[in-house]
């Protein structure tokens, strides 16, 4: 465990240090303008000269203002600690029901994600079972399921929202539909592969036991497909979350992580964008992590070597 942790921590440390270093030239021009307004002497005094100079030269000439680049109210690139503070303030220090609480917005997005994920996974598994047991369905539907993976289906998102809105359906359901179809195809493809993974020997063995098709499904195909199912579930849940976030963009939704991103980009609230982004990242990591734990429990109960 320690052997694995040290390099990861070093890499993360380097990334954070790099982030701080980049924030300096990114923010230096704005900081210098603010400092001049506050009466501090900055080196090229005219604004035009500063615009012409390169960011790194400005940094070397005005070393005294460097700490300010990590403390602006609306920086071009907020420093890591600013994002962390914003995250802490909007999650732990606000009431969960408040419109400014990221927990509230995260829950709005999460509920759409989970509902859509459940629908997409359920339908995907059903279709996969149909494909494995029915040759006609396999030959007609499977090529389309594979081709659909190469298509940016997310382009449909704005239309689904508007169409469902125009027939009177709004709220969590339209976003869940987008999440559902984004997680649907990975599950179909993975599950078909999984249900077909038992080899001819194993299928023959069941036939010698005089097992029916249903018995073959429950006792051999379904257990054998579990590793494949979980691999595609992890892909699917990440896609579901992206779907829910993108689903919040086109209607100008007022709540949800996507809405926070959009509002932040309208009003130039960069710290808000970054904290929403990190909240989405943490959410995705938790969801994938939970599926990983579930996978380990299921495979262990089935006697797998994990």
């Amino acid at each position: 465990m320690r052997r694995a942790a040290v390099p990861v921590l070093v890499v993360l440390g380097v990334l954070v240090a790099f982030w701080y270093a980049v924030a300096v030239p990114m923010n230096i021009k704005g900081v210098l303008t603010e400092a001049q307004r506050a009466g501090v002497v900055v080196v090229p005094e005219s604004g035009a000269d500063r615009r012409a100079a390169s960011a790194w030269r400005l940094v070397t000439m005005n070393l005294s203002v460097v700490p300010d680049t990590w403390a602006q109210a609306r920086p071009r690139l907020p420093a890591p600690h600013q994002v962390a503070i914003e995250l802490w303030e909007t999650t732990a220090q606000k009431k969960v029901t408040s419109k400014r609480s990221l927990v509230y917005h995260g829950w709005v997005t999460l509920s759409a994600t989970l509902l859509g994920f459940a629908m997409g996974t359920g339908l995907g598994i059903l279709l996969a079972i149909g494909i494995v047991h029915n040759r006609v369905m396999d030959m007609s539907v499977m090529p389309w399921a594979i081709v659909s993976q190469t298509i940016p289906i997310i382009a449909l998102a704005p239309m689904i929202i508007v169409v469902l809105y125009s027939i009177g359906i709004q709220g969590v359901f339209p976003k869940a539909v987008i999440s559902a179809y984004l997680s649907f195809f990975p599950v179909v493809v993975g599950m078909v592969k999984g249900l077909r993974s038992p080899d001819a020997m194993q299928l023959d063995l069941l036939r010698t036991y005089n097992a029916s098709q249903a018995q073959g499904f429950w006792k051999l195909r379904l257990p054998a497909s579990m590793p494949y199912l979980f691999a595609s579930l992890k892909v699917g849940i990440a896609a579901s979350l992206v779907g829910a976030i993108v689903g919040e963009l086109p209607t100008g939704a007022v709540s949800g992580l996507g809405a926070r991103l959009l509002a932040g980009s309208y009003y130039g609230q960069t710290v808000q964008i970054w904290s929403a982004l990190f909240a989405a990242a943490i959410l995705a990591a938790c969801l994938v992590g939970i599926l990983g734990v579930l996978e380990r429990i299921v495979l262990r109960r089935m006697g797998g070597r994990t």
């Binding site: 040759r135 239309m159 027939i167 989405a280």
Partner: protein, 281 residues
């Protein structure tokens, strides 16, 4: 109502034809393998057309395929301009930069075991995140034109490509590397003659995953601000004007571009990794 009945009849006929073909004597031939999904696709389109006409579904909910085709044919110049803006300028340039940078990074990471053990978990983690969310930030930094879309694509394809390339460069066995050493091959000789070719199936896997990601990134980034041209821009404004036939035409372009792009990469893969078991006939 008669149109709906016709739709049911078409569905039954198409399915019956597929059942005959798929269970018939020639089910394993290439022609049947191609024909069955095609018949299915045509059936779906015909049923769609009949049902929408028969039930008189309004345009703002679902246009008929014939209306979409007509719109597609009449607005070719607009669609082409959007395609160039989003796909050629945004997605392709971002794809090239992102995949190129990830490959170079993978070569650098591969030289150090420490870096690899540190970067792989981090890269795996980032590859699962909703990276599209960086779009508003990058649009703010790089402006509304295609540069910001390319930047989003770079960020999106970088990590999936990196982890695939790093995994691929580890693919050789100790025996194979020892053989290179007995030939007195240097690091770069071993790299170009053994490890890079061995990594190609993995690299192409990353390249194929990235084709879809590139298009998604370029389209979604346009939802956060774009010039008045581009596929994402056209989709979001046409939805606002309830011109759903235009939206569907644009989705058709996206689908064509996505599958052709993927197909092109898959073709190159077949040429480069002809020796791999999955490519042999």
């Amino acid at each position: 109502m008669s149109l709906v009945a016709l739709a049911l009849a078409i569905w039954a006929a198409g399915w019956a034809m597929n059942v005959r073909l798929a269970t018939g004597a020639h089910a394993e031939t290439a022609a049947v393998r191609l024909a069955v999904p095609l018949i299915f696709g045509v059936t779906v389109v015909l049923v769609w057309e009949c049902v929408v006409r028969g039930l008189q579904v309004p345009l703002v909910i679902l246009p008929t395929p014939s209306m979409i085709a007509a719109r597609f044919a009449t607005s070719l110049p607009i669609l082409w301009a959007d395609f160039v803006q989003t796909f050629v300028k945004g997605a392709l340039s971002g794809y090239a930069i992102g995949c190129g940078a990830a490959l170079l990074a993978a070569v650098a990471v591969d030289r150090s075991d420490f870096l690899r053990r540190g970067l792989l978990p981090v890269g795996n983690f980032i590859a699962a995140l909703p990276i599209v969310g960086t779009a508003p930030i990058l649009v703010m930094w790089f402006g509304f034109d295609w540069h910001s879309k390319a930047a989003v694509v770079v960020v999106m394809v970088f990590f999936p490509m990196l982890i695939n390339a790093v995994a691929g460069l580890r693919e050789t066995t100790a025996m194979q590397r020892d053989l290179m050493r007995t030939y007195a091959a240097g690091y770069w000789q071993g790299f170009f003659k053994l490890r890079l070719p061995a990594a190609m199936p993995f690299i192409f896997n990353g390249l194929k995953i990235s084709t879809t990601l590139a298009l998604i990134g370029a389209i979604v980034a346009e939802f956060f601000g774009s010039p008045t041209v581009g596929m994402g821009f056209r989709i979001s404004t046409s939805v606002g004007q309830l011109a759903l036939d235009m939206v569907w035409a644009e989705i058709l372009v996206a689908a064509l571009a996505g599958s052709l792009f993927y197909g092109a990469v898959a073709l190159i893969e077949r040429g480069v990794t002809f020796w791999h078991p999955s490519q042999r006939k």
